[in-house]
């Protein structure tokens, strides 16, 4: 039963997001370097951290799938990665907005974290065509899990390599803005992180509930011997039943 617990979870998310937004705009002090633009970080960084953890979680679910053969873990893995890709889009867009506000360009190569994230995003974007190209559902699930594990191992390596590639001429601007965060900013940041993380979990659960419902409908249809539905099913998303 995926839907159980969805209500308290969403309520908690609403409360957390409301608290986070209030803190960002009414409590957190103005940054000396960046000014009002720094407020973007309360959104951008928690999104990035949550997305990255989501990718790793997707890899962990994939390991469970490979070891147990239970396709439910594959569904969890798929939805985790899917949600993290969506959050990733938000990370890149908010990152670009911040870059434009700070440097005048919509994209800069000077921020190693943002560049690393772009590469990770490109890697996981290939997850969809990869799944789509494998027809047999059982094999698709297995190969997708291998992909998720491989990509999970790739994430830290990628961050390390990109960071090392940065020339020492351009200091890490987010580093200086983040270094020695005053207590009030850190508190605000943590609340934002909790809110975004809760949002991720809620949306993943929502997605799994929708998939499960769809799966139950298929099951019902089969049990009733009813004819096939007018609209076809998805070829890449794993089924949950």
């Amino acid at each position: 039963m995926y839907g159980k617990g969805l209500r308290p979870l969403s309520i908690a998310t609403v409360v957390a997001v409301a608290a986070a937004l209030s803190l960002v705009f009414f409590y957190a002090p103005l940054d000396a370097d960046q000014g009002f633009i720094q407020k973007i970080f309360y959104l951008h960084v928690p999104l990035a951290i949550t997305a990255l953890i989501g990718f790793v979680v997707g890899g962990v679910f994939a390991i469970f799938h490979l070891r147990s053969g239970n396709r439910r873990w594959d569904a969890y893995s798929y939805v985790s990665i899917h949600m993290s890709v969506i959050f990733g889009v938000a990370v890149l867009i908010t990152g670009a907005i911040w870059a434009k506000a700070s440097w005048g360009h919509w994209w800069v190569w000077d921020e190693p974290t943002l560049v690393s994230f772009l590469i990770v995003f490109l890697m996981y974007a290939t997850y969809y065509p990869f799944r789509y190209a494998i027809e047999d559902p059982e094999r698709q699930a297995r190969y997708a899990s291998v992909f998720a594990v491989t990509a999970g191992a790739f994430v830290p390596l990628n961050f390390m390599a990109v960071r090392m590639a940065q020339s020492l001429v351009h200091p890490r601007t987010f580093g200086t803005a983040n270094g020695g965060l005053p207590g009030s900013m850190m508190f605000t940041f943590l609340v934002c992180l909790a809110a975004i993380a809760l949002l991720w979990v809620t949306l993943v659960k929502l997605e799994l509930t929708a998939k499960s419902t769809s799966g139950q409908l298929k099951r019902l249809r089969r049990a009733l011997d009813a004819p096939a539905p007018s609209s076809g099913g998805s070829r890449i998303a794993p089924e949950v039943s």
Partner: protein, 78 residues
Amino acid sequence: MIGLLLAAAPALPLDEAGKYVAGAYIVFLVLIVVYVAIMASKLGHMEKELRELASFAEHRADGEAAAGSDREEVSADV
């Protein structure tokens, strides 16, 4: 105090910066709303399918009830 901070040359003047910050939070909101819209359309499909199945099941139940009562009548005649 705030005045001192503002005077310490932030990256953009406050009203300019405000647009970018607002833009970022709006993008976030829009993505969430788009997701809700997609889920809503999925829900609509599921409702339609469930309705089809329900009427199919009811038809079949009616058909069986009718066939059952036909059989009863036949046996009653005999």
